[in-house]
Amino acid sequence: MHMANWTRPLGAAAVMLLFAQAGAAQETLKLGISAPFSGAGATWGLGMEWAAEQAAERVNEEGGVTANGKTYMFDIVSYDNKYSATEGARSAQTMLNRDGIDFIVGTVGTAPLRAMQALTERKGVIVFNVAWGKSVKGPEFPYTFTQMNTPFEILVPFYTFIKEQHPDLETAVLISPNDATGQELEPMAIETWKNLGVEMLASDWYERGTTEFQPIATKIASLDPDLVDFSAAPPTDVGSILKELDVLGWEGVKVISAGSSVEALMAVAGEAAEGAYLGASADFSGESATEVQKELNAGAREALGEPLNGLTISPYDAIMALRAAIEEADSVDPTKVKDVLPSVRFESSYGPSGFGGEATYDYPQQMLLPVIVTRVENGETVELTRSNPAELEALIND
């Protein structure tokens, strides 16, 4: 658990002292997580930490990871980035300079990641992330790897699917959080809807931390669009707006591109969330889920009280990629590991995977994963479609 973090280094130090005297047989490789553990995104941090711990446990049980004749055990250390640039930078400083971490297996948010990159790219530390911005990728960021689908993978298939379900959609309103993720997503969302023949009536911003959503809901309801797209807004905020919209009698298609946790959404919105389409969720207990996903999902339900989603499961996949890359490079030197990552093949929780996306980002640093569209039906996540991008299809058939 997150709370135990500060005791863990002490315990680890004591254990290390014992080992040091007995002559070290195996070494510990610390993997960092920098995610929100408080505020609207708290469930993301808790879920990611849990998934990372499961992956580390699995790797350790299977004998750890071997490189250059040494065996390493994974250990997860978490930091609260509060979804802000400042805390992102601060957590990076602590991870790199104090705790000597070379691999970060999960970080959320474009702004915190950008802040971290100022340090990690310079010092040569690998950062796996679920940041949605395009500006954090490219050949100038060779240590950065994205472990989850982003709007550039999701939006076209996601929106196209929704338009197929509702052919008469004509007008939309876009609500974005006023942060880096929201800002990078907005033009892309407007463009994609336009190509599908949906006109954007208004594109509005709100500050994270807003408590009263009636004004924004009143505005949406008076525009009366066929569809509202909540862009990168976290589930709790979306829930509040949906509830107000329901009160005002608006009925239309609800699209939540960053929609990850149905539980958080339902807790706030209740029945008002019914029918919403989610771009970042998944039903890991359903038919198309893999055995690994079903097992992780059941464990998360028990430990955290809510199932995993596309975002929270992602550190598992990052750790699997990292293990494969360390073994391939036969080194725990992040510079060598980063060189093999773009071409490494590994078994993600979804099945065989690798990295790609060179066409979009000019550098193969995007994990190739199926795009999953889900919908809230009777308060549960229901998977509507799961499709592999062309690059992933080619990799599987290779």
Partner: protein, 309 residues
């Protein structure tokens, strides 16, 4: 003890030792910690500096931010030379402090406290609304030039320590005595023909320039700044340093900042315990040792001299 020359020389020795440490230590974590301690010390000293005229200036946080943003904007967006970007930080912060002081210092007490609080929030909201300077995400990529980079922590420590000595120098000068006189009763200085409003503005400008420079140095030390770095909470923490260290002497805020920043590292990482820790330290000090560390030292010295007599 502190007021006599040997005390000052001890402080100078300490400052030189800090600079040498920042220059020679190889662990980046420890050098950045020294920079951080001194940044907080300047924030706390500047807050105490305005407390001399009896006002609690929450906008200390805003001028820290203005300094940092000035440096970051000129360095990252305009690509101006390093020294110029650093020099501009205190100048811009000082100029805006003059405007702020001239407009707001007609209020005092709780009204000045609240107006300075509101100004801090407005400045922060303006950053978040201005996309040209990164909006909510702030600015990234302030790096000292390659030639200086290795010495940067030492440079920052030296400049911050010099700022602290400068603030102390002003406090001990005639000007400092006038500030004190204003706190006690601003009718008396006025009755002898002094321009009280001008003196008050001057006090705010000196403090504002000091934190502006600290902000500029912070921008290069941190490489990243964002609006959320500069909430009113920065001033509140600075106030905690002042209270813990003791208001009675210029050394108080420095000691308070050093103690809380270093001990705070212990609990860093988990916001819950960090908050409880800071809160408990503030409450206990305020209620049990109202004079802070400096007050405690003075009392201990008083006991010693009394028993020696």
């Amino acid at each position: 003890m502190w007021n006599r020359l040997p005390g000052v020389w001890i402080c100078v020795a300490f400052a030189i030792a800090s600079v040498l440490f920042a220059l020679l230590a190889t662990n980046a974590y420890y050098t950045s910690l020294v920079v951080w301690v001194l940044t907080n010390a300047v924030l706390a000293s500047a807050l105490r500096f305005v407390l001399q005229i009896g006002e609690l200036n929450i906008a200390t946080a805003a001028f820290f931010g203005i300094g940092a943003y000035t440096t970051a904007i000129t360095a990252v967006l305009l690509g101006w030379p390093f020294w110029l970007t650093l020099l501009l930080a205190p100048l811009v912060a000082g100029a805006l402090s003059a405007l702020f002081g001239w407009v707001t210092l007609r209020t005092k007490g709780p009204y000045f406290l609240l107006v300075s609080f509101a100004v801090t929030e407005v400045v922060r909201l303006v950053y978040t609304q201005t996309n040209a300077i990164g909006g909510n995400s702030g600015l990234v990529g302030m790096f000292p030039p390659m030639a200086i980079e290795a010495y940067y922590p030492a440079l920052a420590v030296a400049l911050l320590a010099a700022t602290l000595f400068a603030l102390y120098g002003v406090e001990r000068s005639d000007l400092g005595r006038l500030f004190k006189a204003i706190e006690n009763n601003d009718a008396i200085p006025r009755s002898v023909g002094l321009n009280v409003v001008f003196l008050k503005v001057l006090c705010v400008v000196i403090a504002g320039s000091a934190v502006g420079l600290a902000g500029g140095l912070h921008a290069y030390a941190n490489n990243v700044i964002a609006p959320s770095d500069f909430t009113f909470f920065v001033a509140i923490l600075a106030l905690a340093y002042v209270k813990i260290g003791g208001e009675g002497h210029a050394l108080g805020p420095v000691l308070g900042a050093a103690l809380l920043t270093l001990v705070g590292q212990w609990v860093a990482g988990i916001s819950a315990w960090e908050n409880i820790f800071y809160g408990a330290v503030i409450v206990v000090t305020l209620l049990v040792f109202p004079g802070g560390l400096v007050g405690l030292a003075a009392r201990a010295r008083g006991l010693v001299t009394r028993s020696a007599r």
